[in-house]
Symmetry: C2
Subunit: 378 residues, 2 copies
C-alpha cells in the first residue's frame, strides 16, 4: 500500500545520530556553529514579535508581508532584482513544493553529480527520474549537460551553484551564462538552491543564475546566515509559477509559523544582519583555513580535495579503491566523524569520496579532529 | 508542464480576504478567537525556550522528544493510549504526509460529504479519486459507506468525526464501532482528523476511532486549543507507518520549527492547558448558544441547521434552490459574511448550504451580525 520510498532515504538522519556522542569531533553534519547564533538578538526579536497577539493567529499562505518585503529588498540589494518571494518552512520545503508542482511521475531532473541528498529524496519521492551530470572544479560540465539535455530532455535542472553541497565548488560565470542559454533554448526549469552564497571567505561574488535567466527558481534560506531552528526559507520565481507554488504550499502546511516569520521580520528590522554575516564569515573563514591546512597531514598521499571559497564543506577523494564508509567506522573508534560520499550520488557512487564540514568546530577542535583522523590512515 | 492543480483550490484564501475589511462581522473564517490566546503564557514560554541556544539549531525530524512525550501523555490521559507521535507543521502537514505516503495516483479516498476542503485539496494533489459518502445528524451513514466500500474499494477513509468541519456533527459511538470493523475487514486506513474534540460545550466525550481501530491514523493540533500561528500538529499511527511518515516529512521540511516546538513544550510544562481549554469552552459555548438562538430570527422559514455539541461551526441549508454564494454578495453589502457551502463538497455541491463560525465573535457581535443577516432575507 505504501508508495515506494527511496531506500537510501535516511542517511542524513543516521549520520546525525553518529555525531551525538559528546566525545566525537564531528565533521559530518552540515550544521552552523551554535555558539555563533545571535541568541540575544533573536530572543529579543521573538519577545518583540509576541507583543502583538496577531502573530499567534493563522496567516496568509504567501507569508508575512513585511518579511517578504525585507527579503525581496535584501535580494535586490545583493544584485538579484526581486519584487516578491514565497516564504517556505525552510528551503527544504521550497524543494518539495517545486517537485510537487513541476514534476510528473517519470519526469527527468538533471543534477550535478554529486549533489545535496535531501534534494534527491524530494525528486525521487515525486516519482522523477534523476540523471546525473558530471562536474569539475568550475562546477557542472557544460558539454556533459548538453548531452544529457539532448538524450534525456530534462524538465528541470537542479544546482547548488555557489559553494555546493557536498563539494564546496562554485559554478563559474561563463558556465552560468551557458546554462541560462540552454534553459531558454530547451525550456527546462533551473532550480538554483542558494543557502551558502553569503558565506564567502575570499574572492568576488558571482551573479546568481536567477539574475540572468527567467527560467530560474531561486531558493534562499535563513538557516545558514541566521538560525536553522526557525525553519525559514524563501522562493523567488516568475509570478505565475509563484501563484501555483502558493496553492501547493497551502495544501502542504497552510502557511509557515506566523511567530517565526514575525520574529525574523523584527530581527531584520532591528539588527544588522550584514554585520552578523561578517562575523560568521570571519569565524568560518578561519575554520576553513584550519581544515584545509591540516588535510595533507591527515589523509594519505594521493588524496585530492576541493579548495572552497566559501560555504561549509570540503570534498575529498581517497586514492585507489578506498571505501570511506568502512573508514568512517574506524574513525568513530577514534572519536572523529565525516560523511561518506556515496549517498550524494544519484546513480553511480564513488565510494572513495567523503565530505568534511568545517563550520561547527573551532580551529583548535579542527586541529584535534584532524590529528585523530591521521591515526585512521596510520 | 504544471501538474494539474485543483481549480477550486483557493476558496479558503479568497474567503479569508473577504473578512479583512474591519467593518465586516465575519462568520466565514475558521479562526480561533485571538483575544482568548494565552499571549502572556506563550510569550513567557518562548522566552524560556530561547534561553537554550540549541532551540535555534537543526533538530530531529520526529520532533522535540519532550514535546512528543507531553503530547503522548496528554492523549493517553484523554483515553487514547499513545506511546509516540510525529510532530508536524500544523495538522495540515500531517494530511499532506499521509496523502504522499499512502495514496498512489488513482487511489480512492472516501470522505464524508461535505468535508474539510483543504483535505480534499491534499487528496486531489496526490492524484487520488475522492468518493463522497452521505451523512446525517449522527455523522457518516454506514450503509452508504458499505456500498462505497463495495463499489470503489477505497484505500483510505477521511473523517472529522467529532464536531466536524463544516457541519459541527459528531459521529456516534455505535457508528465508530461499525467503521472500525469495516476498516479491519477491508484493510483501508481511517484518517481521524481531530482538531476540535477538546472544544465540547455539552454532552459527554465520545471515544476516538483510534482507540478502537489500529487501522487509524489520528491527527491532532495545537491550533484550536493553543495558537494556530505556531503551526504545531501531531500524528499518531502504528509504529511502522510512523517511520515511513517520518521519512516523508524529512523530504517535506526536514523538521518543524525547533523554536515553536520548544516553546510549546515549555508552555505545556509550566502552564495548565486544561484550565486554558476550560476558559475557551466557557467562552465558545456562550457564543455557540448566542448564534443558535439567533438563527430562527435571521434566516427564512424552512432553513435547517445543525446543533453542534462543540467545535466551531453551524451548518445551514436554506429552503428550496437558494444560492448561498449569491446571498454572500448581498450579505457583504450589509457588512456580514459566511462561507457558501459548495466548496466543501467533493463531487455534487448543494448550493443552498452555508457554514457559520461562532468562535471569533463575542455574543454581542454575533447578535449584531445576525441582525445584519436578517436584512439579507427581508
Amino acid at each position: 500500500m505504501h508508495r515506494t520510498l527511496p531506500v537510501a532515504s535516511s542517511p542524513v538522519r543516521d549520520l546525525l545520530a553518529l555525531t551525538s556522542r559528546p566525545e566525537v569531533i564531528s565533521f559530518a553534519g552540515g550544521l552552523p556553529a551554535p555558539e555563533l547564533f545571535d541568541q540575544d538578538g533573536l530572543r529579543a526579536a521573538y519577545d518583540l514579535a509576541l507583543r502583538d497577539r496577531s502573530v499567534l493567529q493563522y496567516a496568509p499562505t504567501e507569508g508575512n508581508p513585511v518579511l517578504r518585503s525585507l527579503i525581496s529588498d535584501r535580494l535586490t540589494a545583493r544584485g538579484l532584482p526581486t519584487s516578491d518571494v514565497l516564504i517556505t518552512t525552510g528551503s527544504q520545503q521550497a524543494l518539495a513544493l517545486v517537485a510537487t508542482a513541476l514534476l510528473e511521475p517519470g519526469a527527468v531532473v538533471a543534477v550535478e553529480e554529486p549533489t545535496y541528498l535531501a534534494a534527491l529524496q524530494c525528486f525521487q519521492m515525486a516519482g522523477a527520474r534523476i540523471v546525473p551530470v558530471a562536474a569539475d572544479a568550475e562546477g557542472m560540465d557544460i558539454s556533459a549537460l548538453r548531452s544529457v539535455v539532448a538524450s534525456s530532455r530534462p524538465s528541470m535542472l537542479y544546482l547548488v551553484p555557489t559553494f555546493a553541497n557536498p563539494t564546496g565548488r562554485t559554478l563559474s560565470s561563463s558556465r552560468r551564462a551557458e546554462i541560462a542559454a540552454l534553459a531558454s533554448e530547451h525550456g527546462f526549469w533551473v532550480v538554483e538552491d542558494d543557502p551558502y552564497s553569503e558565506l564567502r571567505y575570499r574572492g568576488s561574488p558571482v551573479a546568481p543564475l536567477a539574475s540572468i535567466s527567467d527560467r530560474t527558481i531561486y531558493l534562499g534560506s535563513f538557516s545558514k546566515i541566521g538560525a536553522p531552528g526557525m525553519r525559514l526559507g524563501w522562493l523567488r520565481a516568475p509570478a505565475s509559477l509563484l501563484r501555483t507554488l502558493t496553492i501547493v504550499k497551502q495544501a502542504a502546511d497552510l502557511h509557515t509559523s506566523t511567530v517565526d516569520q514575525a520574529a525574523c521580520a523584527a530581527y531584520l528590522t532591528h539588527n544588522d544582519l550584514d554585520a552578523h554575516v561578517a562575523r560568521l564569515r570571519a569565524a568560518y573563514g578561519e575554520r576553513r583555513s584550519a581544515m584545509v591546512a591540516a588535510l595533507p597531514g591527515a589523509f594519505p598521499a594521493g588524496t585530492t580535495w576541493t579548495d572552497p571559497d566559501g560555504g561549509m564543506f570540503v570534498w575529498l577523494r581517497l586514492p585507489g579503491s578506498a571505501d570511506s564508509a568502512e573508514l568512517l567506522k574506524e574513525a568513530l573508534t577514534h572519536d572523529v566523524a565525516f560523511v561518506p560520499g556515496a549517498p550524494f550520488y544519484a546513480v553511480t557512487p564513488d565510494h572513495a569520496t567523503l565530505r568534511m564540514s568545517f563550520t561547527s568546530n573551532t580551529p583548535a577542535e579542527i586541529a584535534e579532529g584532524m590529528a585523530r583522523l591521521a591515526k585512521v590512515f596510520w
